[in-house]
């Protein structure tokens, strides 16, 4: 029987063509299925990881900024009391004005994450991520955002890195005018664990500091101490 498949015609020919197509395209079909599957999976996990990272960073940033705010508030009260009592010195006047300027700067620091527009991606760096409320465009995986955050996106978006560094500069200035050494690292927490993940006082402390280490998420973030990923 020398039936040449390529010359098949009629209904029987079509079936034979389909059969050939199927077998020949098997590879492609599985590839596409696998790809689609993995892509969706990756998107989902990327979103989770992004939210996790965002929460982490937000906590760290605000730990520092909050400390400075509390510090400034305290000193404003202390020095204002001195001023009222008529015992203020010119140095204190300088310190108060630095403290008030610091508070003003901190006021401008955003506490909410603006809703990401569907078309544009990076309107907020992870340093600004607030409590991770799912935004309306949550199908957009943060891991696919590759555009860097622009310093000035419209009137509403301050440059956060710049703002953070000017807050820190103002804080150092305040410390200098008060004669106080600024605390260099992000906080000791209530459990007495040290910040920045650099100092390990012993095994117990390391275990306690798991808040900084990503444990739950599978993938490249596992076991990474995100506090080492400072911005």
């Amino acid at each position: 029987m020398d039936i040449d498949a390529s010359y098949s015609f009629g209904r029987r020919g079509e079936e034979m063509e389909d059969v050939w197509d199927e077998t020949l395209n098997l590879e492609t079909k599985f590839y596409q299925e696998g790809y689609a599957d993995g892509h969706a999976h990756g998107q989902l996990h990327g979103l989770y990881e992004g939210r996790e990272l965002g929460q982490e960073k937000a906590w760290e940033v605000w730990e520092e900024v909050g400390y400075m705010e509390g510090f400034a508030l305290f000193w404003v009260d202390m020095l204002a009391a001195g001023e009222d009592a008529g015992k203020g010195r010119s140095k204190d006047a300088r310190a108060i004005s630095h403290a008030r300027q610091l508070l003003a700067l901190i006021e401008t620091f955003p506490t909410t994450n603006p809703t990401t527009a569907p078309a544009t991606s990076a309107t907020a760096t992870s340093a600004s991520a607030a409590p991770a409320t799912p935004s309306s465009s949550s199908d957009q995986a943060p891991s696919s955002e590759s555009a860097p955050a622009l310093p000035d996106q419209g009137d509403t978006e301050p440059d956060l890195i710049l703002l953070l560094s000017s807050i820190r500069a103002r804080y150092k200035l305040l410390c200098s005018s008060l004669g106080v050494r600024p605390r260099l690292l992000a906080a000791a927490g209530k459990d007495g664990s040290s910040g920045a993940g650099v100092e390990n006082d012993g095994d117990v402390q390391v275990v306690v500091q798991t808040e900084g280490v990503v444990q739950e998420i599978e993938g490249p973030m596992k076991g990474v101490d995100t506090r080492m990923l400072r911005y």
Binding site: A169, K172, L173, S177, R181
Partner: protein
């Protein structure tokens, strides 16, 4: 053709010397080093030191200034002293150290009631004059008083300024001495205001560099501060009348290198023997030797494409130009476009100078007269061990005025007039500083210090010996 003549090599540090500076009011030179000390040298100018013509450098055979070491200040700094600066009054010395502090030093009066101030640290206990055997300096009066000078008394640390988080790289006083600036590896520039009683109040912390801030320099008359950083930018800062210190411009170098233009005119027309030899020495100093050329081709180092660190800054005495030295050894000139304190600067020239990093620049009056377009003499030195002296001039239009409307880009021409290779042997030259006195004496006297701890004093002479 001018030349650089070595006039003194006083006994100095055993470890790398990082900075030298002449006291603007007194006959003192200071140097600082990794050995945590500051050395003071006294100098005396020959009585005939005033140049006959304002633009003429002295002859090589004329009397030389005499320099010798008079005091070593053992500071309480815990690490290398990286920088020092004299206040314009000549009474106060600031030292910046790798231990992240800046110390302020004043000389004790005879009755010893010099500043017992708050924050006083490191009271200097007077030591017997150091006697070191095996001196090799030209004058062996180590530790004695200066010739015909009043005694150099003890120096005391009256204040220590803390605040930087890591190594302090440079300190500098503003033109009127009311402000002191310090910059550090922690990417910040701090500005301190001098209060009465040696009290210093920090009035600004600027953290806008993204990397280590290597150098800073104040404008010669106004309160404008330039800071240079490893991030290849120069930030121009001023005290905005609206209330705060801020940066009004960030300079980023862009111009490509242009080759050194060694002037030939003097040697070409009726050359004297001295002129020929001086010209030859300039050429030998600046151009690579056959061995060096061979070594370069053999090594085949591809040119660096990344942005280069800005290591050094120097303002022109007139205040309209800023020179910066980079990691690739080139010198750039920036010109101010306008007369306001916050007028922007533009890059107008970039000349090849050194084969390695240009660590230091110093710009002073001298050379071609101001009326003829002279902007002064610029000294540069760096890791290639060379010291080069440049004459900088600006074209003058027919009516004698400066040829540029503020909106046009000014032009300058930079030409080397004297050079020395291996000024301190194989050691990198870390700092150069011109002697600049109000009476104009000692023009063309230059001090330099290097990684081998040596301090040398040179002068620009009109002809070869």
């Amino acid at each position: 053709m001018p030349q650089l003549q070595l006039i003194a090599s006083p006994q100095s540090h055993a470890e790398p010397a990082w900075a030298v500076a002449f006291n603007p009011k007194r006959n003192l030179l200071a140097s600082c080093s990794t050995d945590k000390t500051v050395r003071l040298y006294s100098y005396s100018l020959p009585s005939s030191s005033k140049p006959v013509h304002q633009h003429a450098f002295p002859s090589a055979s004329s009397d030389k200034p005499v320099i010798h070491h008079v005091k070593t200040i053992e500071t309480e700094h815990k690490r290398t002293i990286r920088s020092l600066a004299w206040a314009p009054s000549g009474k106060t010395l600031a030292t910046g150290s790798f231990d992240s502090t800046v110390a302020i030093w004043e000389e004790l009066d005879g009755d010893g009631d010099e500043g017992e101030e708050e924050g006083q640290e490191g009271v200097y206990k007077p030591k017997a004059p150091t006697k070191v055997s095996g001196d090799v300096d030209m004058d062996d009066d180590d530790g004695d008083e200066g010739q015909g000078e009043r005694d150099v008394k003890e120096w005391e640390c009256v204040t220590t300024l803390e605040g930087h988080e890591s190594e302090c790289k440079t300190v500098g006083w503003s033109a009127d001495g009311a402000l002191l600036a310090s910059c550090s590896r922690d990417k910040s520039v701090w500005v301190w205001e001098v209060q009465p009683d040696s009290d210093f109040e920090c009035i600004a912390v600027l953290m806008e560099h993204s990397q280590d801030v290597k150098n800073l320099s104040w404008h010669p008359h106004e309160e404008i501060l330039a800071s240079a950083s490893y991030d290849s930018h120069i930030h121009m800062q001023w005290d905005d009348p609206d209330g705060d210190w801020c940066i009004f411009q960030k300079l980023h170098p862009k111009l490509p290198l242009s080759q050194i233009n060694i002037p030939r005119s003097d040697a070409a027309a009726s050359p004297s023997q001295g002129q020929i030899s001086a010209y030859n020495s300039l050429v030998t100093a600046l151009l690579p030797t056959p061995e060096e050329r061979e070594a370069e081709t053999y090594l085949n180092v591809p040119p660096l494409l990344e942005d280069e660190t800005v290591w050094s800054l120097a303002w022109s005495p007139c205040g309209r130009f800023l020179a910066s030295g980079g990691d690739l050894g080139g010198i750039r000139i920036w010109a101010r476009t306008g007369n306001n304190p916050d007028s922007p600067f533009v890059e107008i020239a970039h000349t090849a100078a050194h084969s390695r990093s240009c660590f230091t620049l110093a710009w002073a009056q001298g050379g071609t007269l101001l009326a003829a377009g002279g902007l002064g003499i610029l000294a540069s030195a760096g890791a290639d061990g060379k010291i080069i002296v440049w004459q900088i001039t600006t074209p003058v239009s027919a009516d004698g005025a400066e040829a540029d409307a503020p909106s046009k880009k000014p032009k300058v021409s930079i030409a080397p007039i004297a050079a020395i290779r291996e000024a301190h042997g194989v050691a990198d030259v870390n700092c150069v500083s011109w002697l600049q006195r109000e009476d104009g004496g000692g023009q063309g006297v230059l001090a330099s210090c290097a990684d081998d701890g040596s301090v040398k004093v040179w002068r620009v002479v009109a002809d070869a010996e």
